[in-house]
Structures are given as structure tokens and as C-alpha cells.
Amino acid sequence: MKKRRERIDRGIKARSEDVYALSSWREMLYLAGPRLLPAAAFLLLPLFLGVYWQKVMLSVAVFALLAISWNMLAQTGMISLGQALFFGMGAYVSGILNFYFGMPPWITIPIATILGGTLCTLILMPVLRLRGIYFSMVTLIIPLMLVRIIEATKIFGGTEGLSGMTPLPSGLTEVYLVTGVFLGVLFGLRRLMETDYGLVLKGIRDNDRSVTNAGIDIFWFKTQALFIASVIGAFAGAFMTHVYMFVGMPVFALDYSILPIAAAVVGGSGTLAGAALGAVILVPMSEALRGIGGLRIVMYGLFLVVFIVAIPEGMFDYIQRKYHQMERWVEIDK
């Protein structure tokens, strides 16, 4: 009995791409496993974890949302260095609605998501025609400037911030709300990027002039991509306002800009799932390393350098390749 090794994915790939004729549970599991497993983990884990690790999961989901939002922009060719703008805008809108108008979280979060996203889009629209590093610099500067403006004009609580927001009903509601949105956004946007619409967005990244030549208004498409990204970021901010029960200048801090980029770079900046994977790796790691304090940020910095130089395509791409290269032993038939 002679045996040879065979790639598992060949047949499955051929049959699942166009006609979708999978013949066994094993094949379906092969395809669905990598998608279902993390989703199931996100949905089931909160039930078994303690309060502390629930909070960690919560910030995993929040940073994953920010990383996805960063990646959405990056896939359209806009490199943002200031995700904190989206986060902070959502946080402040929901904070203001709750603090001054006393609206409950289930109204403030949706309103802040849409309104914050719209505001960010309107702020960035005038500079949407800028390319490459010029756009990045604008996004780097706007959150810094908003912080200074809040400090100088003392609006919305000034340096003290607003506190005493209505909390969400329970810890489990918090976790499930944010993981639900995270999974929905991740799989929804992955599907969106596979469609013709996503193709246009990726085309703008690869060569915007040839997309213009095809008679497509890239300015309008960029606006839409920006809106999608800022809505996601604004949701994360609005949500965190009610978790922390506080909103203030720290929401525009550099952390909310750096960590999503670090997550996207570590996980893989070419894919949305990569960005999410990066957040899943980095956030718990930074929690585990809380003991070393400020050295964590030093490590982030070094991580960024190592990954951008040595593994520019990121972890997700590597894992995906290895998964597709898995082999099994089969008998050689006569």
C-alpha cells in the first residue's frame, strides 16, 4: 500500500468558488471552520470568563472595530494616522446627548454612531482629494487640534470632561452588544469588499487615476468609504462612553490612533480579518503585560518596526497560506 500526500484545499477550492458543490461535512467544515470558530469563541467565551476578562474581551472588540475601520480606509487608499478622531467624535456626541439631554444609552449610541460618523466625514471631506502622506498628516493633526480646542475653550467640561453617564444594564449586555457589532461589521464588510463595490474601492487604492478614467467618481466613492469607516469608529467611541461612564480629552489620545494601526500591521494590513486578528493578539497581550507599565508602548513601537520590516503582509496572510497548504495522506490507486 503506497501513500502520497495531497493538498486538502485543491478540490474544495475548485468546487466552492463557482458552483458550490461541496460533497461532505468535512469539506464544509474545512471552509467554514476558520470563520465559525472565532465567531463561536467570541459568542461563547463571555459566559465562562470572569468580569476582568470580560472587560478585556470588550476592549479587544473595540480595538478590533477601530482596526477594521482603519483597514477600510487603507483598502481605499487613505492612510489614517488619527482613528482617535472617529472614536472621540462618537464618544463626545453620545456623552453630550446623555449628559445634557439625559437620553438613555439605547438612543444615544445609535444617534452618536450616525451623527459622529457624519461629522467626521464632513470634517475630512475637504481634504479627501489629498493623496498619500498628505492625507495622513491631516488625520494626524485634527485630533491633536480638537484636544487643544477643548482645552482652550473649556466647552463640554473642558479638561475635566463629562462624567456620570448612564451605564449599560449589565456586563454581559456590554460584551454581547460590542462583540455582536464587531462580528457583524467584520463579516459584513468582508462580503462588501468582495462585491463590485469593494472592487472599485480597492481600485482607488491601486490606481486612482485609472479608476477616474473608467468614468467613476472616485471622490464620491472615497466619501462613502470614509463614512463607513467613521461610523464604525464612532460606534466604538459612543459605546465606550457608556462603559467608562466618562467622556473627556483622553478619547482623542494617541492610543486610539496607534493601537489600531499596530493591530492592522501585526495582523495584516491587506485584509479586514487581519486587522481583527491583530487586535485579538495585541490587546490581551497588553493586558497580560500590564505589570511592566510604560514599557508596553515601547514594545508596540518595536512590534511595528519588526512587522513592517520583516513580515509586511502580516500574521493573517501567513496563517491563511499555511492553512491552505495543509496536506493529508492518501492511497495511490493503481
Partner: protein, 290 residues
């Protein structure tokens, strides 16, 4: 009060020019936006502090040594990191920003903050100019700033290395055909930029104290000046330095100190939105905006 503001605005302009000129040199020659610039500035300051206070070297020796070490650091940063991502603007920014973050946060972790962490002034004296007392250090900043600007102009116009710098800045491939090693020149440009940051730190730090946060401010100010003046244009740096320097001092005196940073940030945003190449930069319409 007006004359005094004018004098201090002049000094402030030269501080900004000193802070920005190294960043501008690196970007203008090799196209590398060195986001570790602020970190190199702070690193050299801590280095001369260490040499001065722990090894008890004389001030001039420790300053010179720290400038040289910072230059070597810059060159190594290019050789081992930037060379591998050369030409990909985003990767360069992320890599240099990562290095800068690591350096600054390491210093913050070590907790070297306080009034004792400062460098000595050159002469502890002050003179009366236009009704206000100005200390010698501030005058030294103006003089050294002028000397550096003129020296840099002479260097890039009359030495072979300087001419090679301008060669690869204008057209890298043509420069290659003339036997100019573009990687070597880019290494030197990052190294010289780092050296200028170190010189700026040696002169400016005695006015205040060394703090990791200062690193981010220096980076943002350097960015502001270079963007407004036009990335890579030396004349632009000087003009933008004066615009921002005067605008900052006058807002500080007549509006309020909270608004000083906002003025320069708003200026950057305005320039980026209206004319991304800056006041004196070469217009490259389709590269920067579509």
C-alpha cells in the same frame, strides 16, 4: 510690550527653524519623513545630560559626543530599517514612528523627568534689547540658527557631498548614472538630519528641561514648519519659521497661551487643504492631490 513680543517672536522663529531644519534636510534629500525626529532630539539631550552629569565630561565634549552618537543612530536606523522599506512612504512613516515611540516611551518609563534634567546655558547673563532683558542663550539661538542656515546653504552648494545630496533630491536615477550612490547619500541625509536635531537640542534645551513629551511637540512643530514652507524647501522652512514663530508669540501675548498650539495646527490644516505642497514647495499636482 510690543517691542518685547517682537524680540521674543524673533527668537521663537529661530527655535522653530532650528527644530525643523533637520527634518526638512532628510525629507528634501531622501524623501524619508523621519517621524523619529522628535525622539532623536530628546535622545541626544538625555545623552549629553548623562555624559555631563554621570561621566563628568566638560559640556562641549559631551555635546559634541552626543551629536556624533545621534548621527550614528540615524545612519543605523536607515541602514537596518528604512533601507528595507525604501520608497513605500507609509511603511517608512510607520517604521520611523515606531522607533520614535519606542525611544520616547522608554525614557518616559525610566522616569527621567524634572527640573534637574536640563543642560547648562552657555553664559548665564542677559542684556537689554528694546526695553526687555534677553538672556545670552536666546541670542545664541539666533546666531547659531543663522550660522546653521548659511552653513547648510554653503554645504549644499559648494561641497561634493552637498552637490550629491541635491543631485539625488532632484532625480535619483540620473544621479545614479553620475556615480552617486543613492543609498549612501540617503544614509548620510538621515544621519545629518539626526545630527541637526541633536544640535538643536543642545542649544534649545537649556531654556527648559528635558521631557519625553517634548519629543512629540518637536515632531509636530517640525512637521508644521515643513508642511507650511513646503516639504524639502529650505527657503520655505525659514519663511514658515518666521510666520509660525511670530503668530505663536503674538497669540500667546494677546489672546492666550492655550491658543498658541492651535494657531500652528490650524495653519498646517489650512495649508494642507489649500496648497499641499506648501508655500515654497514644488507643485506636484497629481502626486499630492487628485
Amino acid at each position: 510690550m510690543f517691542a518685547g513680543t517682537l524680540v521674543f517672536a524673533l527668537v521663537n522663529s529661530f527655535i522653530l527653524i532650528l527644530m525643523a531644519i533637520g527634518f526638512n534636510l532628510t525629507f528634501g534629500i531622501s524623501g524619508v519623513a523621519n517621524f523619529a525626529y522628535g525622539a532623536l532630539y530628546i535622545m541626544s539631550a538625555y545623552m549629553s545630560w548623562t555624559l555631563l552629569n554621570l561621566l563628568h565630561l566638560p559640556f562641549w565634549a559631551s555635546a559634541a559626543l552626543s551629536v556624533i552618537i545621534t548621527m550614528i543612530t540615524g545612519a543605523m536606523m536607515y541602514r537596518f530599517v528604512l533601507l528595507r522599506v525604501r520608497g513605500q512612504a507609509l511603511s517608512e512613516v510607520i517604521a520611523t514612528f515606531g522607533i520614535g515611540l519606542a525611544i520616547l516611551e522608554l525614557f518616559r518609563y525610566l522616569g527621567l523627568v524634572g527640573f534637574e534634567y536640563t543642560l547648562p546655558v552657555f553664559w548665564n547673563d542677559s542684556i537689554l534689547i528694546a526695553g526687555v532683558y534677553v538672556d545670552i542663550q536666546r541670542i545664541a539661538i539666533v546666531v547659531i540658527g543663522l550660522m546653521l542656515v548659511v552653513g547648510l546653504w554653503l554645504f549644499t552648494h559648494f561641497t561634493s557631498t552637498g552637490l550629491a545630496f541635491r543631485g539625488i533630491a532632484q532625480d535619483e536615477r540620473t544621479a545614479l548614472t553620475f556615480g552617486i550612490d543613492s543609498d549612501r547619500m540617503a544614509t548620510l541625509s538621515v544621519s545629518f538630519g539626526a545630527g541637526l536635531a541633536a544640535i538643536a537640542a543642545t542649544i534649545i534645551i537649556p531654556l527648559g528641561s528635558i521631557a519625553p513629551n517634548e519629543g512629540y511637540d518637536v515632531l509636530i512643530k517640525a512637521l508644521a514648519i515643513c508642511i507650511i514652507g513646503g516639504l524639502g524647501s529650505t527657503g520655505g522652512v525659514i519663511v514658515a519659521g518666521f510666520i509660525i514663530g511670530f503668530a505663536e508669540r503674538f497669540t500667546d501675548t494677546y489672546i492666550g497661551s492655550h491658543w498658541t498650539m492651535i494657531v500652528s495646527l490650524a495653519a498646517i490644516l489650512l495649508v494642507l487643504a489649500v496648497k499641499p505642497s506648501g508655500l515654497f514647495g514644488q507643485q506636484k499636482e497629481l502626486e499630492e492631490r487628485i
